[in-house]
Symmetry: D2
Subunit: 362 residues, 4 copies
């Protein structure tokens, strides 16, 4: 609990936005996993501010592996990765000025004034860079087993992207392209329109949110547990640990409420094995994978920090005042959140697979 | 993990639908909690088939407390509650006939043919009766602290219920009424229409799903943890462990995707303490309670078992065949799932409060 | 924690000595393990009062498997075993009369008067019958893999038993005989003398303790984890959860303090694989098995309840008074504790093996 | 499990002897604990080579707090402490030369050749420096509550130290002096003789072991849990995670085997509260503290690395050869292990207290 996850592969996050470093310990990796450090770097790049759409924090996320890694391979002992914090501007933050819809006030309630509030502290989106490091390692483990994960931006404000293809060849192609893209959409038209939406919000000193859709391909059936470790339980608990995520749905999700059972059910068929004709349940029945692709959607709320005037209070006086967002902030973080969603998905799946097969499975 | 939950109050579920009993062990209760057994019984009644809307399994859920309870009070040692299974008809189930959108096939993959498939086994909705027992105890603990939980049926197929009142007095009244109701809606008109929808589905040999909306009142601010034990993470992992739940959203949830930050943010104000003018974030920022009501929605898919003809395969032959649902089944379980949602919410909140204050807090 | 153990195979104990039943839930068993129920029964018999050496509680420990077991096999879902309590005499217990060296007073401090004190409640040695059920299943799992566990009574008061043979054939024979014996010693002479010691103590209205020595044969090397899940850590935490255990040592244990390194070290040799010439470290280096037999000793203190007059206080008045042990009590429990030591050893080893290989390893 | 401990205060160790750094993450600290960094430094000094008795690794253990600490106080978010490795000589180690009674071979079996074997890697005693950092923080937390921990060297080879005083004033004095001492003994005569023993072993190119005895004063009654989280279970699992520990006993420990119940039992008396006349049980009954001092002993085996010729095998050829210990090594580590024993004791007690009272108790 707290900032630790997992019983089989244990993840322990640490760090604050403006402290000396952020990092993560992974305890429970198999010895002898060949790590692709370039790939970890590329994953981190996906989370970084890339262009005019994003904030000005310039630093590259140079990571270093402090332990558990030697001569190119995991050793099997706890692997600690750290990223030093460099380009920090702490003067921008006033702890008594409560930024609406941020964690300033709840952090104050929980930590009673002792929290490192600079840059959002441990609540900063920056901490997700450590999650991306852990996730990149987990994705490599899964890819070695043929399991693929990809996420596209399904929606930015009013603009929608296409759906994943139901043709397996085309789908494999989509997954590969998404994982090389810095702004992950299936349709080029959507890409343009979405970026227009973001720029428009930026020009208005405002922000926009959106929806991410994730697919997991080639996960064997029978993975997941009934009840508290259902695939949905494990993945949702990880997804909701990403700042700004406020909803998660699997398969048809909230659309199920509008359907009759006869419309919603996925009929079985036999086609090189037992499959379902539709995939309304997102590849999961009773919390357990059925061999079809895992499909889920995650909603990212609009970035709370905006340039527009907002009403809030000053905790020193309890007076209502107006404020504008200071510090660096993005008009949209949906495209940056994509790799974090991929990362926690990979972490969750490795956990579930290890509960069944042990860490030697990796 | 598996069928166990919690690090502070540990919940361990057991039982199959057609075995001798189902039950749950609660490890970590404070000694000296006066339990209201009548209340546990009333909570179980909410989950039971109540009327013409529901299935024919007649048995009352008589529970017995096997341990951890003496002279009216919890002893502080593990409390085991059991419910005997009585009215079972096991001849209705053929393990090779895969019921669409049920866990038959995934259970087969996971348990490799050794699962007790009768009545859905450990995947049966019946197991949630044990969750309701655990939840009833947790709700009593919370109510002793002034924390209230209530859930209403927000939607059945196309029929919507009213929203919770934003007037605190009226809201308290609504919560009280919901918790005495067997079909929990805020609007009497909705009740009638929803029941019509269910009957209509029943007459069509079909089923319907819906959406439940839950409120938690008077939870202090500062509860929850960043990342993996955010309130959203803990509650969603529990909610997704309820069979048929396929989506969970907090506050505005998926609506956030359509809003600008300036529309979505909750401005702060001072009114007998620091509050927010709106509650789009459902009482949670950065995973931690802010003192406003916790608000979330849970979608329940249509009952997969229906009388209508469906396509499936026979695993003995891998032939595609058609089948009709046999055994007892409900055209709708949304109204019955309500108390299960309340229950897991209570379990999750007790866990989070105990992590901060220890079991002696109870 | 509390009365729950394990992250891979989760064990949750419940029950009080004079409540309706005691039991245990095992969550994380592989589906399809053929269980030998007769064997569970025999293991329970080893823990029971057998003869003139032991107490008068007459009941046989009839267990029933409530869940997770069907048609002779584990189903893979949580397995709950229960033993009903029948032959209870609750009038013997006065909660205000603190029995020296019992848990009466500490239970009072911890549970603040709400504990079920009858017969020792949750602290009763009787609860270990549930551990024996769980252990019997784990021992069957290990035996299917060729891993054998046996414990002999190394010492009762001043009488010592022989050591385990270092000839593998003879050792296998010893293990087999110990596991069929109700009073487990290697030397027939020791048996006689030990039983004399116990009778002598009984006649003096007194009690005696002793030392158990355990061997684990054919555990592969490489099992266990550095630091907190070293084999020694996992086994000792389980052994110290047995009431009356006050010391645990591996290999030479406390004798190491008297030796030079050159005397203590185990030299390596090659003989059908890498072995050590001596086994002073009890088969464990750095917390991890080295392929030699695991060896450890456990001290059992004399039964605290004795017929002799003892000084104590009456908590109602805080007056010092004298008391004699009432209720049923044994002059020695070392021979009965033997199977409990075997049981928790098996539980610990299954946990460690599953962390490496997953539950599908079973 | 693995290198992680705790459910309430979570400790995650990382690092190898010759990697870039070692460290530990503490997740679950209360916000607002004023930390005494000088004290952490002094605790680390106790573990360091101090004099002619110890090895030549010269570096001071300069720690840095990477996160969770700001302006002198804990923030309440995960606290990561690191110590950089500087003075390493990796050329001394040959992975195929199995050092008797070291973890070389078991690490090879477990990590299959991928372990960082330099300097013992993750198995090095050096990693305990990270435990000392975590323990120093826990000791500060306990001392703020009036709970004191001290350990003395009870035995080095054949030389014994005095016992702890049973006069409370004198005992408090002893504890204070032990905690300021670099070679912790109660009797000055013993100190001299013990150091002679160590020098003698050193001159013989050999090594010696010994016994540490620990006392915990002013721990309230009622702490600890029955069964798996008994004080004995929690402390022993931590103590056995210290390299070289092979035995742990509480109170009279193995001496209990030689006593009658009437000799072993601790009679109750009333003297400013309920106390026991003797403390044979080491302050613990039924796994739970009774308010008397907690007392236990830990045996440390002789350092396995010695200058004398030893028999072993070369794994490249499986030939038996002789070797002498290379690299830096101590003729005795008992005096250095003292602070590690104190540290894990503090970690265990904070865990148990937090399970009862939550992290806000700190």
């Amino acid at each position: 609990m707290f900032s630790s996850f997992g019983e089989h592969l244990k993840i322990s996050l640490f760090g604050e936005s403006h402290g000396s470093a952020i990092g993560v310990v992974l305890d429970g990796l198999k010895p002898g996993i060949l790590l692709d450090l370039e790939n970890i770097h590329r994953e981190l790049e996906k989370r970084r501010p890339v262009d005019t759409l994003s904030t000005a924090r310039k630093e590259q996320d140079f990571f270093q592996i402090v332990s558990g890694y030697w001569n190119g391979y995991t050793t099997g002992t706890p692997l600690c990765i750290m990223i030093l914090n460099e380009d920090t501007k702490s003067s921008d933050y006033d702890p008594f000025l409560l930024r609406p819809s941020h964690a300033d006030y709840t952090a104050y309630l929980k930590y009673q004034g002792f929290q490192d509030y600079r840059g959002g502290g441990h609540f900063s989106g920056r901490i997700t860079a450590a999650l991306v490091c852990a996730g990149a390692i987990c994705k490599q483990i899964l890819e070695n087993k043929g399991i693929k994960i990809a996420t596209h931006i399904k929606q930015i404000h009013q603009v929608m992207d296409d759906d994943f293809s139901i043709q397996i060849d085309e789908l494999e192609q989509q997954i590969q392209e998404l994982n090389c893209s810095s702004f992950a959409v299936l349709s080029k038209d959507s890409l343009k329109e979405m970026q227009e939406e973001i720029k428009k919000a930026k020009n208005m000193q405002d922000s926009v949110g959106g929806v991410l859709e994730t697919i997991v391909l080639h996960l064997e059936g029978g993975i997941g547990e009934p009840f508290f470790s259902s695939i949905e339980s494990v993945l949702s608990s990880l997804l909701f640990s990403i700042p700004a995520v406020k909803g998660v749905e699997f398969g048809l999700g909230f659309q199920f409420a509008n359907l009759y059972g006869s419309e919603a059910n996925d009929s079985f068929m036999y086609q090189d094995g037992i499959k379902t004709k539709t995939n309304h349940n997102g590849g999961i029945n009773g919390g357990i994978s059925n061999g079809m692709p895992i499909l889920f959607k995650t909603v990212i709320k609009p970035t709370p920090t905006i340039g527009k005037l907002q009403e809030t209070i000053d905790m020193k006086t309890n007076q209502e005042i107006t404020m504008k967002g200071k510090g660096r902030h993005d008009p949209c973080i949906v495209h940056r959140a994509r790799v974090v969603v991929d990362s926690v998905t990979a972490i969750g799946l490795v956990e579930l697979l290890c509960s069944r097969y042990g860490y030697m499975w990796m």
